[in-house]
């Protein structure tokens, strides 16, 4: 039994790998056989020539014998998939012979592969990040999970110390925490830098040697050791101009002098986008468990240890801690993941569904586009019907003919895949750039594992896509065209129009029309939405303002400082007010104003309830509007006047102030344009009884000033209580160029308080929130995709319809010869395309209706007009596709048509 299995496998292997050799040996055997038989016949008295002829005739076709022998070896399946170099060459020749099909089909497939590969790569990078660190799959992170509160507990310094000593299956346990620090180089201005406080062990875990100098050693972690720092490559290039003598230089990190001891190589930004590392000093004396700073714990699995072993060990430590310290640790469950698992952006089931939907959409696009190309290929194959029937008569099997068409499609697909992959490679960087605002953490950099390059897995996926594409575009038309070849051969109707578009192709055309109609319509609506945000007019000269977010480090590096929340708030408020007065004293400044949010920034949104007079909301979510609180001088500094009612006065600033100003969009949308002054609003919270919620009286209506929330421009203003508000945003009205004032602002901030950080300092004009950025990205993508789909579809629809009509040239000629009037003929010819068009447009309208189900407002008359025009365009293309070949057919002399029959 075993021997037989081995023999079978060996024989299969030979047949697959050494196909040529096996075939050549068989032919050699056959020749010997025929020669020996001929010799025997000669000995029996036959002439050599007759003997040779008889021997060959007795043996039969050697090609046939080879095929039978191969089948006997179980190679039929392999042969079915095999195609020769000749097929590939023929395919290449066809590409050159039919340039229009090559270009249209090639672009279509390249486009589909581009979208497919790009999406796949983006998903791979987000869902299955590959961490570019040595043996990164053995780097693990640990955290406590608070099962009672259902959230992680990062205050784990006590646990860290215990785990570091106890864990056997994890080597070198390190800790880090991410902070932002003001970096000040002698003679330069302070700049906030994404920083990680890290232990020496954490550096060892990562196994990345510094480019210059050294990483941390345990001594650096001691409280009395001098402060040292390691800088990232980009920071080194940017702030030190790549100076190789940087080691030993002293900088100030949030006011504290520190010596640079190392430079990390390019691409190193652990844990995400950090560029500066300072030692993490963990001292667990003086505070209890679950107190103190929050940390992240990282380690490397010991040689031979598995993830499972480490988990078991850690779980046991968790049980012991829960037993020993029930007050703090009763509900804590230690968890352990690989670093890659811990940084997955999309991990939840909802995100998975979303990603899956995205990929299915892409696959549908691919299938549709390839079916499109398949239609074109089918049309071309139909013109080669004579050739195909003759080949079949000469003994080519159906499989051979289908494989040849597959080879042609594969050649086309391969060229398209190369183009598509190149585009995807470039597109990845482009897409990442567009999504920068959405996916980065404020540093403007992507996490160090996102590199915008295509992975080998994506190349493999592209190969699969190409095979699928070639299968749809080559095999389907091949199967269709070779059906009933034998019958056609018998009827000798080759080239007589025996090939017709059947139900499958009608379905493809209808689907094509429907999607062609649906796609751009959706884009159009999306685009309209985005344009509204982009060109959202602001009623003040936005170009004259600088915007900045004020931040400050609560855990100051200075030892002994009071780090309580109250002390921090007082320190922050004092620094902010100091900066405000310094700014107001500056001759270049016309005004300064603080706010929870500034115009064009993303605003938090809340469901809002009006005491009476509100219009009925669209759905059960009710009226959702943006709200923010701003200084009382907000309108003065922005130079905006109220539309009606009044703005807040200084007496209304306080935790008990129950007043609100709404904007024009709020009046229109929520109150249907009715006067809001004197009405009251409140914010219903889930799970709270409405009676306990405070009402706010509307005292005035302001113009729309960029309260963007993703729910439209409707917004509510409340007076800002600065105390306790963190972080504050500042708008500075500058006389002259705001950009030129930025360095001055940095200097003033450093003077006010050296620990004050200026985040996202930029002209107010440039403030575009992530929502808008992502929206723009989505709009650009859908616009490009729809434009491509539209053009390709129109070309394909034209080609296929005109082909279908031109196939009927002879029929038309015969009808004319038999006395049919042109009107009757046109009616007959147009019937089928019109039916397809009708069904397609109907399906398209349905699709649009379904797709627009989520849009808030019903389409306006204008939108209907555009939809109508668009439908007319599609009808025109289809009509022209029918008219041109019909005219040509009508011009054919009836005698010619009859003669050809």
């Amino acid at each position: 039994m075993f021997a037989e299995l081995i023999a079978r496998l060996r024989s299969l292997w030979r047949g697959v790998v050494r196909t040529r050799q096996v075939d050549a040996e068989l032919n050699e055997e056959f020749r010997l056989h025929i020669d020996l038989r001929a010799s025997d016949l000669v000995r029996a008295g036959m002439s050599p020539a007759d003997a040779a002829r008889k021997a060959r005739a007795e043996f039969g076709s050697t090609e046939d014998q080879v095929e039978k022998a191969r089948r006997a070896r179980g190679l039929a399946w392999f042969d079915a998939l095999r195609f020769s170099w000749l097929d590939v060459k023929l395919g290449g020749r066809m590409l050159i012979k039919y340039p229009v099909l090559t270009i249209v089909g090639g672009i279509s497939m390249a486009f589909a592969i581009w979208v497919g590969a790009g999406t796949f790569e983006a998903i791979r990078q987000l869902v299955f990040p590959v961490i570019p660190l040595p043996e990164s799959n053995r780097i693990v992170v640990m955290q406590n999970w608070d099962a009672a509160a259902n959230r992680p507990e990062f205050r784990a310094t006590h646990d860290f110390v215990v785990w570091r000593e106890a864990l056997q299956s994890v080597d070198d346990l390190g800790a880090y925490r991410t902070v932002t620090r003001n970096l000040m180089i002698t003679g330069g201005l302070a700049e906030p830098v994404f920083t990680a406080e890290m232990t020496a062990a954490a550096f060892r875990v990562l196994r990345v040697p510094p480019l210059l100098g050294r990483a941390f050693v345990e001594v650096d972690e001691r409280a009395d050791a001098p402060v040292v720092a390691v800088i990232g490559y980009n920071l080194w290039q940017r702030r030190f101009q790549g100076d190789s003598g940087v080691i030993g230089r002293t900088v100030r990190i949030t006011g504290v002098p520190a010596t640079i001891v190392g430079v990390m190589p390019n691409g190193f930004a652990f844990p995400r986008t950090q560029e500066l590392w300072v030692p993490l000093r963990i001292d667990v004396t003086g505070y209890d468990r679950r107190q103190g700073m929050t940390i992240q714990i990282v380690g490397r699995l010991a040689p031979g240890a598995t993830l499972g072993q480490a988990r078991v060990e850690l779980t046991n430590l968790g049980r012991i801690a829960a037993n020993d310290f029930p007050r703090t640790h009763e509900h804590l469950r230690p968890q352990l993941f690989t670093f890659a698992e811990s940084v997955q952006v999309f991990g939840g089931p909802e995100e998975w569904t979303m990603l899956l939907t995205g990929n299915v959409f892409v696959l549908m696009l691919l299938v549709l586009v390839c079916a499109n190309v398949g239609l074109l290929m089918f049309a071309r194959a139909a013109t080669r019907e004579t050739e195909i029937v003759v080949r079949s008569a000469l003994g080519a099997s159906r499989r051979r003919i289908v494989m040849q068409l597959f080879a042609e499609a594969l050649v086309l697909g391969t060229v398209a895949a190369l183009v598509g992959l190149t585009a995807a490679g470039a597109g990845m960087r482009w897409a990442l750039d567009l999504m920068r605002g959405e996916l980065t953490d404020g540093s403007g950099n992507f996490p160090f594992w996102v590199d915008g390059k295509l992975s080998p897995l994506t190349f493999f996926y592209t190969v699969l896509l190409t095979l699928l594409a070639a299968g749809i575009a080559g095999v389907l038309p091949g199967l269709k065209i070779t059906r009933n070849l034998g019958d056609r051969l018998k009827r000798a109707t080759a080239g007589g129009g025996g090939t017709q578009f059947g139900g499958l192709w009608t379905a493809v055309i209808v689907l094509q029309l429907a999607v062609t109609m649906g796609f751009p319509v959706v884009t159009f609506f999306v685009r309209k939405d985005a344009v509204k945000i982009e060109t959202y007019p602001l009623p003040f000269p936005v170009d004259q303002y600088l915007s900045v977010r004020l931040e400050m480090e609560r855990f100051a590096v200075e030892p002994g400082a009071d780090t309580s929340v109250a002390a921090f708030q007082a320190r922050y408020l004092a620094a902010a007010q100091e900066l405000e007065s310094r700014l107001e004293a500056d001759p270049a400044v016309a005004g300064v104003v603080f706010g929870e949010r500034l115009p064009r920034q993303y605003h938090p949104n809340n469901q809002v309830e009006v005491d009476e007079g509100a219009v009925t909301p669209h759905d059960e979510r009710g009226h959702v509007v943006a709200s923010t609180s701003v200084d009382t001088k907000y309108l003065d500094v922005l130079g905006v006047s109220m539309l009606s009612g009044r703005w807040f006065n200084s007496g209304e600033v306080g935790p008990d102030a129950r007043v609100a100003v709404v904007n024009k969009a709020f009046v229109d949308r929520v109150l249907g344009g009715k006067n809001p002054i004197g009405r009251r609003i409140r914010y219903p919270w889930r799970g709270q009884s409405p009676e306990t919620l405070p009402w706010y009286e509307i005292i005035g209506v302001a113009p729309d000033m960029g309260t963007i929330s993703g729910w439209g421009p409707a917004g509510i203003y409340h007076p800002l209580v600065r105390k306790g508000m963190y972080p504050l945003n500042v708008a500075v009205h500058v006389r002259g160029d705001p950009n030129a004032f930025a360095p001055r602002l940095r200097a003033l901030a450093a003077d006010a308080d050296v620990t004050l950080r200026l985040a996202e300092l930029m002209p107010l004009r440039n403030v575009v929130n992530a929502e808008v950025a992502f929206h723009e990205f989505w709009v650009k993508m859908t616009t490009i995709v729809s434009a491509m789909v539209l053009v390709l579809s129109l070309v394909a629809i034209y080609a296929v319809m005109s082909f279908a009509v031109s196939r009927r040239t002879r029929e038309i000629g015969v009808r004319v010869a038999l006395g049919a009037t042109p009107r009757r003929i046109i009616g007959a010819v147009f019937a089928q395309p019109l039916r397809q068009l009708g069904m397609g447009l109907l399906a398209g309208a349905l699709l649009v209706w379904v797709l627009l189900g989520g849009v808030d407002s019903a389409p306006t008359a204008n939108q209907f007009l555009i939809l109508g025009g668009y439908t007319a365009l599609m009808m025109a293309v289809c009509m022209i596709a029918c008219v041109v070949p019909t005219r040509r057919a009508l011009a054919v002399q009836p005698t010619e048509a009859l003669r050809d029959t």
């Binding site: 021997a3 024989s11 055997e29 010997l32 014998q65 039978k68 022998a69 089948r71 006997a72």
Partner: protein, 112 residues
């Protein structure tokens, strides 16, 4: 004696028998079957190589290249251990079948 077509399924066992008597090339197998059947059995040339490939694929025969009687390179087939076992089983089964058919066909009216 007139020659007869082979019963379906018997070619494989005849080939095994032929190569059990000594290694043979394809044409030699054909001649040997004719010879040992006293010229009574004719093998379709078209079926021979398919059967050889099948038997080799199943590991019942093995092949190697050698030199033929006319000094040409030829592929010689010989029986493997598995083939010998199969030949024994098939021969016994064939004998039982043939005896049974012989018995049935020689039945006289009064025995029925």
């Amino acid at each position: 004696m007139t020659s007869a077509e082979l019963l379906p399924g018997t070619l494989d066992v005849l080939i095994l028998k032929a190569v059990s008597l000594g290694k043979l090339h394809g044409y030699g197998v054909l001649l040997r079957i004719e010879q040992i059947s006293g010229g009574a059995l004719l093998v379709q040339q078209g079926a021979l190589y398919q059967a050889l490939a099948r038997l080799e694929h199943r590991g019942l025969i093995d092949s190697e290249w050698g030199t033929s009687e006319n000094n040409r390179r030829a592929k010689f087939y010989r029986l493997t251990a598995a083939g010998r076992r199969t030949l024994g089983e098939e021969t016994a089964s064939w004998k039982r079948l043939s005896d049974a058919i012989g018995l049935a066909l020689s039945a006289k009216p009064r025995e029925a």
